[in-house]
Symmetry: C4
Subunit: 259 residues, 4 copies
């Protein structure tokens, strides 16, 4: 096995008005939930698999007790307006170098398939259990901002303040060198839990951008389950606030150390 290995499952893939969406594991798994939902609901076809030394040495077990090695996969979802090339997977790279190499590969593949625009999907951690249906955006070409605002994406100066870490950000950075327009769309999420509710918000925006109609049923169900957990977490939070004195003098200051 090579450092990075691409296994083609379908040859001669031709795409119409192709866009590339990326939903890998990350904050609240928001991006992953949305991309996997699209793949499932749009009866997407798998076209290739990616294996790499830069993924953790791990296998996952399915319902038949059969394993598969950690991988990333590309699917094609055919819709009326666009063919969507979707990247999903078990893990992001576990090394810095691997992040750069894998994202370079993803972009090589995207260009091979004629992709004209990239959307990386993720979560933006608020640290708050209170729900917000906002979807925050960042772009690698500011001309995209106005258009995305019309689909409900929020833009805030210099936000996220700590930048965007991992494939979602790196793909924007690297595609800039190729003059490929790319946006990162982030559902607001607590950052503590897998968040199907935030995924619903993000899915709504995505559906509007791609002019598709997606059943959110399965996400809805998981979202309800999560709401119960959040409710209980809030209760505990409140109880603890009674007993744990807050000695922090810097509550309203930004003492963030930009290390």
């Amino acid at each position: 096995m090579q450092e990075i290995e691409v296994i083609r499952i379908k040859e001669d893939v031709q795409l119409k008005n192709p866009v590339f969406i990326v939903g890998l594991p990350g904050v609240g798994h928001v991006g992953k939930l949305v991309a996997e939902h699209l793949v499932e609901e749009l009866n997407a076809e798998k076209i290739l698999e990616i294996y790499s030394h830069h993924f953790p040495p791990q296998v996952f077990v399915d319902e038949n007790s059969e394993i598969h090695l950690v991988k990333n996969e590309m699917y094609v979802c055919r819709t009326e307006k666009h063919d969507i090339l979707a990247l999903i997977g078990d893990h992001q790279s576990s090394s810095t170098e691997g992040h750069y190499k894998l994202c370079t590969l993803y972009l090589d593949l995207a260009e091979e398939f004629g992709v004209q625009r990239i959307y990386t999907l993720g979560g933006f951690p608020t640290g708050q259990l209170t729900f917000s249906d906002e979807v925050l955006g960042a772009v690698n070409n500011k001309e995209m901002v106005e258009e995305l605002k019309q689909h409900g994406v929020i833009f805030k100066e210099n936000e996220p303040g700590g930048g965007i870490v991992g494939a979602s950000g790196l793909l924007l950075g690297l595609s800039k060198f190729r003059d490929l327009d790319a946006a990162c769309l982030m559902g607001l999420t607590s950052g503590y839990l897998v968040d199907p509710k935030s995924a619903q918000s993000l899915l709504k925006v995505i559906s509007q951008i791609f002019e598709i109609d997606i059943d959110v049923g399965p996400l809805e169900e998981r979202a309800k389950e999560m709401e119960k957990i959040v409710a209980r977490l809030k209760e505990v939070e409140q109880q603890q606030q009674g007993t744990m004195p807050d000695i922090s003098p810097t509550k309203d200051d930004d003492l963030r150390y930009i290390g």
Copy 2:
């Protein structure tokens, strides 16, 4: 010294109906205990040693105060039905890349010796001190499931939920690409202690699969020692339960963050 170095101790090794078992250090050292027990009880012959930059820079000291460098070793155990190629060792790789490279080497060697089936041995951490003699299985080809069930292996949908990390899992994943059947057999264990008792359970299954008769005496003794320790740990656990209030509201929920 190269990145990975194989030192052949015996040339021209011919094996009859060869199977490959792998028992490297891991959860509860269950796999290691079983494989080393087989090597000892079956008077196995060492055929090669493996050294690598991917192992920790460490030596171990024997009863004569003589050291040996961290290594993995392959032995051959001759039994009536099968010649067992056994991989044991001091450590697994300490790098992600090394895991992939070393497992690729192990499979190259397994194929060189004509191996038709692989069993990786390990432990499955329950987080509980209560003993269970179950042996959980996962396979890289679901056709193996029925046969293994007959030897007492338990299969559970999507278990282990977090996948299998390290050589035990990776070997299953990588051998799938070579059309080599492989199963991972995991003795249930607390995850806190070296577990000769779980090793006994696993050994029983292995003996049945290979149709061999193994003396479990030495494991038995170590298991008894461990039982005493567990009994005491349980006592303390109980005492602490009295004094430490459980504030967790999520005890029966799966809030596991699939990060």
Copy 3:
């Protein structure tokens, strides 16, 4: 993208009496604040950008919600006496190997531009919230000491005791092999906060060395903000001293473990 990539923005750059200053992120961001202040106030011209696998896989977002990939940049500031080649950036290398490779590149570039002297700028952590306007120096050629003392730089035997870690130190070490004189100038700082006040002290020294006149206004403002925070931190520190008994028996001993 290569392991390290240099993108030239301006070709055929000619420099007059060039000196090289380096202000990358580090303790209190003192060096970064000073170098970026110089770049801004002296209307410096960007001549190249550096990208690398050794930087974190991250992008930063600007006021237009447009991202840029983590990078280092070189600017030229034209002053009466010297053309200053300034290196600033988002991050230092995140790997040991990368530190050596990137610093080697920085020195190759410095030599290409005919640089005769190097100043790396940083902070020296005191662990104390009390302000000191001292600037501590270390050199790679002791003949520089007297001259720097005349500009107000303090030198202390064997200080910093733990050495200088990262690009600021490494550049001194590596340039020694090229017979390039280099000094590291460190503003004293608590080590807990971004420190524009320490940056002002360091800027004063730098201005004197380069015989330039720099407006410290913007730093002044940020320094005032910081002073308020420090005042509050000190208050808390005092309150805590009342309630938390000091059991440390080694307060006045140097038990530092030189590991």
Copy 4:
């Protein structure tokens, strides 16, 4: 700069009955203290310096505020019976791979200089503040045991139980493949402090082995300072024992998890 760079300071070095001693930083800095003491007291001559990407990116500052890059150095100490090739340095490798590569280089150099025996010097952490003047040994050829016992080295079955980590151990392991006899000599030490007292014990053994007469004065002084600190630490330890109840049920059991 290459991955590893050797700078020869003296060419054509001829050694008489050469032995190789290695005293790099480690547990209690015992080995480092002894080797540096020998280099100083025997007016050793520096013959080469080693720099590497595998050392931390760091410089140290001397009494003139002049820096030097992290390095390892080889010296030759001429004594009546042996010429001692001594390796000392600021750091060991900070990567696993670097440990293997650097130790391979050290052995290549040792062989180049005709070394017939290797002594690596280190500390053995007891976790106890009580002093012991024992020096524990481990060898890569058990025929060395008897001879070393005569010089006061203690040997204990399978000790150290956790093996020997780092250059001290690895050099024994790797030199075995070259049929080079090597011993690791470890002064017993708490593991919490730099230990000049343990260094004295080790130095005594070394002096006897090499039939040399060394002034221990400077170490003596530092040892006295340390004794004062230890006395105070013991006091505190005693005070704390009064207030902190020991709930550990496993005090006399070996529950060490051989992970």
